[in-house]
Amino acid sequence: MNTDNVSEDRALEERTKLIFDESVSALDAQTRSKLTRARYRALEELPGRSAPGWRAWWIPAGAVAAGVLAVMLLWQGQPPVAPEAQTFDVAALSDLEILLGEEELDMIQELEFYAWLDEQAEIAPADSAEGGVG
């Protein structure tokens, strides 16, 4: 390939590029607007953006707000705690400690023995009283 051909090729490349660039710049407003809409339509397909922007943000935010409101209403709607209930709570807590302690569990396993022992303790004073009279 001689130098003339190379320079002519180069000139053609530059000239056609210039014409193309000018035709792009001269695109009418309607076509540009349609291309912008096409771009927005394409961007809706971004992963994680299937819902429109406002919906993607407001649905989770609304759910959180509704949850917080429900918790606050339940909290304020509760009646004042009665002293008996507080006692019950303390008793329940004691039961829990008993249930969780190893020693108390041993006692529960031998509950019949302790019940018999208790009966014997009640019978013994009565017997001694009867013996004293007799």
């Binding site: 053609l12 710049s25 407003a29």
Partner: protein, 196 residues
């Protein structure tokens, strides 16, 4: 590795659906949309169909390749666009040319002179006409090229893709790109000799 090194920005995989990836994709599509449209129009000579094809290509890129590195988007986008253009051409070249011929007439029903106003860089009317005629002649000449030569020429010269990127977009080897491009330039010089 030091803490300072860990804090340096690195080539981490792109997180899908982040605001950043959305902004980058928007900027990329904004950059290529008008040029892609003009390349498509030069290939099929039908304005409405060209818009549909460009939109389909943009949607396909976003759906399938948004998570890929940004430097891959351009060749991938033009590969999708090229396939869409070929599909359209296979469906009916004759129908497209007839529609383009009648659709290009101004003053018909629904013609909006404001919307048809020239773009921001338009000069005086004589220059606009001259540019329009030159582009018409160029499109005519491009239409006479074999498909592979036209693709290679438009992607390399109009869009500025490298040989490697053009090969990716065309789905062929870099050697084929060089051959198609060289033949396209020689053929265009023959066809456009009088006008250029």
């Amino acid at each position: 590795m030091t803490l300072a090194a860990l804090m340096q920005p690195t080539c981490l995989p792109r997180e899908e659906g982040t605001l950043e990836s959305g902004i980058e994709m928007d900027a990329f599509l904004r950059e290529v949309e008008t040029r892609a449209y003009r390349i498509t129009l030069a290939s099929i000579r039908d304005a409405d169909e060209a818009l549909d094809i460009v939109q389909d290509a943009m949607i396909s890129l976003v759906r399938k390749y948004a998570a890929r590195p940004e430097e891959e988007w351009r060749p991938l986008f033009y590969r999708i666009l090229k396939n869409r253009i070929r599909d359209w051409q296979r469906r009916g070249v004759v129908r497209g040319r007839v529609m383009s011929f009648f659709g290009g007439q101004e003053g018909g029903e629904g013609y909006d002179p404001v919307a048809q106003a020239p773009g921001p860089s338009a000069g005086n009317p004589a220059e606009t006409v001259a540019r329009g005629e030159a582009m018409d002649a160029l499109e005519e000449a491009l239409g006479n090229l074999p498909g592979r030569q036209r693709e290679a020429f438009m992607l390399r010269n109009f869009e500025g893709l490298s040989v490697a990127e053009t090969a990716t977009a065309m789905g062929c080897s870099e050697g084929s790109v060089k051959t198609h491009y060289s033949r396209a330039v020689h053929r265009l010089r023959e066809l456009l000799g009088e006008h250029f």
